[in-house]
Each structure stands twice: as C-alpha cells, then as structure tokens.
Subunit: 355 residues, 2 copies
DNA sequence: CTGAAAGCGCTTACAG
DNA sequence: CTGAAAGCGCTTACAG
C-alpha cells in the first residue's frame, strides 16, 4: 500500500501539453438510458443471458457498438466477487520458456477481456504457498496458471482449491484431471532422441538428467530409456549422472561422463543449457563434435542453433501449450485445444560414432 | 467478454475434496465496527491521511493487523477511478531482456500492492496506439512501462498523456523528462568496448549496427566511435554494415565485412545475437576467434558465455533499470534509484590482432 | 422476458 | 479530527 503517493502533486504531474481530460467513457447507465431499458437488461446483454428477446438484444447491442461501450472490469469484478485477471505463477529459470509461454497464454486470452498478471516466485521459499495465496486472494484472481516445476506442488493447488480459485498446471506428467492440466509429453520427444542416436549406431550413451525432485527428470529419462529399449539398448548405470538444468551442472556431468574409462560416444543432456556445458567440456578435452561425441539437448532454445555445431535438440510446443492452458482456464474442459507433440530437430551435433 | 463461462456448472467445478468455502475476508466495515470508528476513518488510516489522531491511527492499525485486513484493490480502484495495475508494454524480441526487466519491475513494486500486467504488442501494427489505448483505458492502468524500441514511439506517449495515464520509458537516449525516463546509457558500454579493442591494438574494426529506426542503433554507434576517437581511430565507411539485432542479420553483416579485401581484425556487433552470427561466419571461413578475428557483443545474454570461445560483451543493468522504472512510476521523480553503468565483460573472444 | 432495490468494498465531497 | 451520505459501475436476489 503506497496510496498516498498518488495524491502528491496531482496537478504537477499533468504535463502542460496535456489536453483536456478525456471525455467520460460510456457506462451501463448511459447505454440503458439510450436503449430505453433498465441497466439490468444491458447487463443481461453483456453477459449473454438468454433471458432477453432477440429484438431487445439487437437494439442494446447496436447502441453498445455505436458508443464503443466496454463494461468496466473493475466494477464487474467487484460485483462478481472475482476479477478478470489470470495469474501466471512460475519459478522457472528459462527466460525463453517463460516469455514464450506468456505469448501463448496471451494468444489464448485475446479478445476475452482477461489480462495476465505475472507472479514469479521462489520454489525454495517456505512462504511460497502463503505468498501465492495472498496474491490470489487480494486480486480475486479468476484463475492461475502454474508452470513447471512449481506446477508439481500439490500444497499450492490444494490451497487454490481451498480458495475456490481455478488453476491449470503445465506439467510433464498426469498430475491432475485433464481440465486442470496441460501436459508436455516429454517422453515422446526424448524417445525420439534415443531412437535417433540408436539409429546412428551409438551403443554407449550418456545421460545428464534433470534435478532430483523435478517431475521432468523422470519423464525425460523414462522416455529416453523407452526409445533405447526399442533398439535393445540399455543405459549403463555409470552413464547416468545428475544435472540441475544449468550450464554448470552440464559441465560437471560431462566431466564425469567423459572421464569414464569406456566413455560414451553420445550424450543426451536433458536440456539445452546442460548440452552447452557438454560442448564446453568436449572442447576442453579436444573432442570434436559430432565426430568424437554426439550431443542432443532439449528445449530448442535460440541458443541451440547458435552453438557450433548447431545442436540437435527437442522442440516442444510451448506456444500451443500456453494457448491450451488459457482455453482450459476460460472455457473449462470442453475446449480441447490441439497441442502438437514434441519433436526432434536434427542439426549437426549428431552423427554415427567413429570407427 | 466471455462472462457466461463462469456460470456453467459452477458446482461441478468444485472438487469433492474442497473444504467449506473460505471464511469471508474482513472488509473496511468490519474494521470500522471493531475499532468503533466510521469506515471513512479506516479509509484515512489506509491512505495514510494526516487527518487522524495518532491514537486513533494506532487503534485502527492494530485491528487491521490483527485481522490481516487488506483493502480490496478492486473496490479501491473503482472508487479511485484508477486501478492498481501497471502495464508492461513491449515489443522486444529478446526474451531474456523482457524477463529480466519484469523481475526488476516486480522488485520495485514489491509490497506496494501493485501488480504487473504484461502486454506484448506489435510495433508494425497500425492499430498499435489504439490497442494500447484500449488496454490502458479498460484497465484504468495506474501507469505503463514502455520498453525499447516502442518506448521511442511518441504517438504512444502522447496518447497516454491524453488519457492521463502515467508512463515511464526505458530508452537509450534522452527522450523525455527524467521522471518519465530510465536511460540505458548504451554509449558508456560501447565506448568501453571500443577502447578495449583499440587498446589491444586493433586498427581496422568492423561494426554491425542495429536496425535503422532504433534509437539504440545511433547511441551504440556514437559511443563506439567516441571510444575509438580517444585512440585516434576512425571507423572506415566500408566497415559499417546494417544489422537487425537478429542472428541472421549478424551472419549477413559478417559476410560483408569478412569478404572485404582489407578485412577487419575485429568486429563489434551491436548485440549478442548478431555476434553469434559473426561466430558462425568466422567458422565457415576458417577464421579462428580471437586469433584471426576478435568479436565483441552487447547484452551479456546467457548465450554469450556458452559460445566458444566465450564472448566478450557489454552487460547492462537491466534489473536495476526495472527497479528504477517502477520507483519512478510509483513515487514520481523524487526517487532517483541508482542505476549502475553498463560495463564490458571481457571473456575470450578478444585478443591482439595477429602479426 | 424485464426491472427496482440493494449491495459489492471502497472513496469523494461535504458537513461539523 | 471525524462521520453520514452519495457514488464509483457493475451484478445479485427478488419481484412481477
């Protein structure tokens, strides 16, 4: 609360070039008067109530259009006891993912009168649930979109249920009912990556996993193993190392894998950042990519195409997932927006193993 | 408007696990009753009006705290004829910049009760101004933050003035009064980059510029030339090529520069994306970095450190700029938040020229 | 199918 | 310094 601020020098802030205050916008009362109906009837038209004769609806609609009337979301929200705001709650270090998701959500929300309010937060914080509760409660959010990994937090969704606040989770596994879930199907992409490497002839393959506690860690690994299994390949125990979806953890993981006596001819890093770390270690060790080492990432960030050689990686349909999340929030389960599958983008970081 | 949606199966959406509806939150009336004052007095306390005795203020504040009362921003907004929402209006392809800026803005807004509503838009669209007007008007935005390059659009700010909607522009040049401007001082960073290259002994230096029409194009170039001038160096005409802040434009620019008969020993690309394009061309041509070609970028995106060799680039204080923008919007000109200067991050893409 | 009254939770403008 | 009344622009619950 910093409300006194707006009272300070209220005139001084008005630049001299400022023209007369803008004409008052039409309200529901204006429309009602002009249409010769009660405001309640205008309200019914706004809210698409069936309890209006076609003729009345036409007349009122015409006047609404004519005057460019738009109902005030604030007033409407106050009466509805619910705002027209959608909260985007996330704790994701991947800026590209967040911005792309925002774009998809905004796509899905376009023309609906809803707005997107961003709310980054800290997964580690022990006030996380209370923070989000305060946010949802204070703004009387219409709904919330939860991005991974905090979309996996059931304490969060339990709190939202308690509040009666809708939500949609974007997640890599079936963590909820379909109407509250947009699933990323990481397995499909990682299985394809595994098939690709196997088809190239790689037998000994390294895996740098996501962080423990992230659902995507499990999904990506399982998909990858399933893909290998189709080629009767298995991941050697020593060829699996932990990662944290960070560049540094990719470096660390690659060091471990590439210092193995029998070192892998290919490495699948569970995201592009870690794959970039593998590049770095390969360079330090004088291994050339892909001749000495094939590398596959996950995300298809812009960076992946800037690396040298350009990285083979998995692209997932983030924009479409965002659109779908918005649709589920606004329209409920009824709208099953199409979300294409993740797919492998083959570039130049993969080739058959030497010899 | 899709208001009928929320009426459909209102019960069905309530999961069975859902506990009783949450206790009604305290309102101004509850506090007034409990404190034995009128709601107007509570309102005065909320709004830090001086017209309340210290004793009354104490008593009311205690009850507010005790009940965890928070005034409803929607109701307050309706009465104030202004919301507590800040619009972030941008058309910037750099996801990292946008997310980092969001973070800074949110930092600056924290605890104030204001929220950030994202509104990406299209610079090219001829309905841009009307789109933003509708947005600001409909939501009765408290204020708007404009990111480059649309922060340079005076039609936009004129419209906002006309609406009486505060704004702060984030821009690379003095485009407005200080209270409405957070300046990025690109010149400081690019001058340093020039000095760095000159000090290394480069004489023939190439420049890949930003897109025509972007103010940062001019600023970055001028700073760079100023830095060179300190070492009595000048940019050869044929060594300046247009860019568009995209990877592809960096490739194109680098091709031109590196096919010059007397080719530059160093290239300054006006952002990291274009610098990545220069890497690519250098590789294609068999030039090694930095031995055959030194490269400097601008932005210090995470990618810049993943390139090989890691890119020397200019880091600007995006978070601090965001904080400053929020402070200016909320507190007015009075708060002159500190914004550090841009600075050169020297990595391994620069060295003295060969021979 | 339509509307008058009351209310959502605040603040304004006016008294005192 | 404090408060009763009216109002912000909508919707709810209730009549008819």
């Amino acid at each position: 609360m910093r409300p006194e601020k707006q009272k300070r020098q209220p005139e001084a802030e008005r630049p001299e070039t400022m023209s007369a205050p803008p004409a008052r916008r039409a309200t529901i009362n204006d429309i009602a008067r002009l249409a010769n109906v009660s405001k309640k009837t205008v309200s019914r038209v706004i809210n698409r109530s069936p309890l209006v004769t076609e003729e009345t609806r036409e007349r009122v609609s015409a006047i609404i259009r004519e005057h460019g009337y738009e109902p005030d979301p604030q007033a409407r929200g106050l009466a509805f006891r619910r705002s027209f705001l959608i909260g985007l709650v996330y704790d994701n270090p991947n800026a590209q993912f967040v911005v792309t998701m925002q774009q998809g959500l905004l796509d899905g929300v376009r023309g609906s009168g809803f707005e997107l309010v961003v709310h980054p937060c800290n997964r580690q914080s022990d006030t996380l649930v209370n923070d989000v509760r305060a946010f949802a409660q204070r703004q009387k959010l219409y709904g919330v979109v939860l991005l991974p990994p905090i979309s996996e937090n059931n304490a969060l969704t339990a709190m939202l249920d308690e509040l009666g606040c809708r939500y949609v989770r974007v997640a890599s596994a079936v963590l909820d009912v379909p109407s509250k879930l947009v699933i990323s199907n990481d397995q499909i992409g990682t299985a394809e990556a595994a098939r690709h490497l196997a088809a190239l002839g790689h037998k000994r393959i390294g895996l740098i996993e996501g962080p423990v506690g992230f659902r995507s860690r499990i999904e990506r690994r399982e998909g990858f193993e399933a893909g290998l299994a189709e080629h009767d390949l298995k991941l050697a125990k020593e060829c699996c190392v932990d990662g944290a979806y960070t560049f540094d953890s990719g470096i660390e993981g690659a060091r471990k894998l590439l210092s193995l006596k029998n070192r892998p001819t290919a490495i699948f890093a569970c995201n592009d950042e870690m794959a970039a770390g593998v590049y770095q270690v390969a360079r330090e060790m004088g291994l050339s990519i892909p001749e000495d080492l094939s590398i596959v990432g996950f995300d298809d960030t812009p960076m992946s195409a800037r690396l040298w050689p350009p990285l083979t990686t998995i692209r997932w349909p983030i924009v479409e997932m965002g659109r779908s999340a918005a649709a589920k929030l606004l329209d409920g389960a009824e709208s099953e927006a199409e979300v294409p599958e993740a797919k492998l983008i083959v570039r130049n970081s993969t080739s058959p193993p030497k010899r």
